[in-house]
């Protein structure tokens, strides 16, 4: 009981298969109260299955699971009373207005007429939906729809919130809004377990991350811990021709040259000093560099290191020196 008191979610030996396909293979999971925990993995890793089990939608084949100290099998309704779930597919009623959707939730949570109306108004305001409150959802944008979806989840002020790919399909501004909402919730003491296939999203939001691959957790820790597990970053130098590349290679110990792309990869810790040193060396040797990019280790590297394959949507993770803005 001593540990369970501080854990919002604890699962051990979680096992689930659909027919012959084993989706979760003896998985353990612990989420501390009041933290944001991200399940990171490509499509088909089992993220959604975990959320569906923890939120009582389906039952596991084996494993002991407690959410907010309650057993998901023997006390499913107890769990349902304190959780909120926003799934991957929008769980809103398209034929109702935004306000009617929220009111339906307050009614189903038995808030009572007056308290319900107050909560509806509050949420409409908080999620910037007040103007569209009485419009039908067919007029809502994807971002508004997702905000309403989350607002419906929050009607009863759940202690634990499950978010299954909360930003999939959202445009960048809506995505940033959603991130802020998640952070605000966590700041208010709510425990959040979210899944994502976006590495930067987990990095941005989560206190702890579990990397999921084919039903196993292959790595777990804080974003910093995960990044520490892999070799540091590097500079990438792009040259105009092979001669310059060869001269630079001979000057810089430990550098790895790519003759085809005329790129030199120089290991570095990413500090300003190391960058200045590198530029000075090249300047003194009068070696012209076409372009320089800085690569800091990110979760894709972690994924590559722990699973031996890239996460979904292999992308160029390099940030150029001119515009090193986060994507």
């Amino acid at each position: 009981m001593s540990r369970a008191g501080t854990l919002a979610v604890s699962a051990s030996g979680l096992r689930k298969s659909f027919g012959a396909r084993l989706v979760l293979d003896g998985l353990d999971l612990e989420v501390a109260e009041g933290t944001i925990f991200a399940l990171l993995g490509p499509n088909g890793a089992g993220k959604t299955t975990i959320i569906r089990i923890l939120s009582t939608l389906i039952t596991a084949d084996a494993g002991k699971i407690r959410v907010a100290g309650r057993d998901v099998v023997t006390d499913a309704d107890g769990v349902r009373a304190v959780i909120g779930v926003t799934g991957q597919f929008s769980a809103v009623d398209n034929l109702l207005t935004g306000a009617e959707n929220l009111q339906m939730m307050t009614d189903l949570r038995h808030l009572g007429r007056r308290a319900g109306a107050r909560r509806v108004a509050e949420l409409l305001e908080q999620f910037e939906l007040a103007d569209a409150a009485n419009q039908r959802l067919s007029t809502y944008s994807g971002g508004m729809r997702r905000r309403l979806d989350l607002a419906m989840t929050l009607v009863s002020r759940p202690q634990v919130i499950f978010l299954d790919e909360p930003t999939t399909g959202l445009d960048p501004p809506s995505r940033l809004t959603m991130w802020q909402i998640v952070r605000d919730l966590a700041a208010a003491g709510v425990t959040i377990l979210l899944t994502t296939q976006y590495l930067d999203e987990a990095d941005q939001l989560a206190d702890r991350i579990a990397v999921l691959d084919q039903g196993h957790i292959v790595a777990e820790g804080t974003p910093a811990e995960l990044k520490d597990r892999i070799p540091g970053g590097h500079f990438r130098l792009h040259f105009a021709d092979g001669d310059l590349l060869r001269s630079a290679t001979s000057l810089l110990p430990g550098a790895a040259a790519d003759q085809d792309q005329l790129v030199l990869q120089v290991p570095a810790d990413g500090s300003v000093d190391s960058l200045r040193q590198l530029l000075d060396t090249l300047h003194h040797a009068r070696i012209a560099v076409e372009r320089l990019t800085i690569h800091t280790p990110d979760l894709d590297d972690v994924f590559l290191a722990v699973t031996g394959s890239h996460a979904a949507g292999e992308r160029d993770r390099d940030a150029t020196t001119q515009g090193a803005a986060p994507r």
Binding site: L57, R80, F89, N94, L95, L96, M104, D107, L108, M152
Partner: protein, 265 residues
């Protein structure tokens, strides 16, 4: 809140939701009620003269209208429940059902909300059709009690068909399937005593027509409205309705629960 009170409250919420859906999609209701009206007009004005003459000497269009009304009311029931199956399938293929399942709400309320909503829609449709029939010159010698009994048996048959449609909607993998599977229900009153006496049918078909569930319901309603003896038709009709409702209810609950184990999309 006691569990009974919260079940009642949750059911009311779902019922209200279903009514709102009906109001927001009036075209569906219009289409569902329009079909039996078209059938009524078709059978009275196109086929009615000829079919009426077939009922006996000195009989005509108006006599056929009197015969036809119970059959048309059954078509009305069968038509309205097409909408039930579609609504249920729409719910099950959408994301909102998963939200309901992760909330501590009465499990039965989602389906019961659909059933109550459809039942209200059915009663309204029956009222509309009876109104139209009266407009066409339909007259009944039945007193209030017999009318009430006729409406009661229609409501019971509607209730049974609604639960059947709920099950068909749950069983359907897509909304398109759900809009097709209950179609056979519209055909059944034709293959019974709904439109012509079963005695005029060739053997084989006649046996089917005499024993299929729509026939005792049609006969009971016709008997009640024309003032004729109802006999044991009413008991047979009631047994069919209760049996269909109970079987469909159990099937629905099973389908509703089994969906929990389905693989995520």
């Amino acid at each position: 809140m006691t569990s009974f009170a919260s079940t009642l409250s949750d059911t009311r919420v779902m019922f209200r939701r279903n009514l709102k859906h009906q109001l927001r999609y009036p075209s569906v209701t219009v289409m569902l009620v329009g079909l039996p009206i078209v059938f009524l007009l078709l059978f009275v004005y196109v086929f009615g003269g000829q079919l009426g003459a077939g009922l006996g000497p000195h009989q005509g269009r108006h006599d056929y209208l009197d015969y036809l009304v119970p059959g048309i009311l059954l078509i009305t029931l069968a038509s309205v429940v097409q909408g039930t199956a579609i609504m249920v399938a729409m719910d099950m293929t959408g994301g909102i059902i998963d939200r309901f399942r992760t909330m501590a709400i009465a499990r039965s309320s989602v389906l019961t909300g659909h059933v109550l909503g459809s039942l209200l829609q059915t009663l309204l449709a029956i009222a509309v059709l009876i109104g139209v029939a009266f407009g066409l010159g339909y007259r009944s010698s039945a007193g209030p009690l017999r009318w009430l009994a006729a409406l009661g048996i229609l409501a019971l048959a509607g209730f049974a068909l609604i639960w059947l449609a709920v099950a068909l909607g749950l069983a359907a993998k897509s909304v398109e399937t759900a809009s097709n599977t209950p179609m056979f229900l519209i055909l059944l009153p034709f293959l019974g005593s709904g439109f012509v006496p079963t005695a005029t049918m060739p053997s084989g078909l006649r046996q089917f027509a005499e024993y299929q569930p729509f026939t005792p319901v049609a006969d009971t309603v016709r008997g009640l409205l024309t003032g004729a003896a109802v006999g044991d038709h009413a008991i047979v009709a009631a047994v069919w309705c209760v049996g269909t409702a109970a079987g469909s209810y159990l099937w629905s609950v099973r389908l509703y629960d089994r969906r929990r184990a389905v693989q995520p999309r």
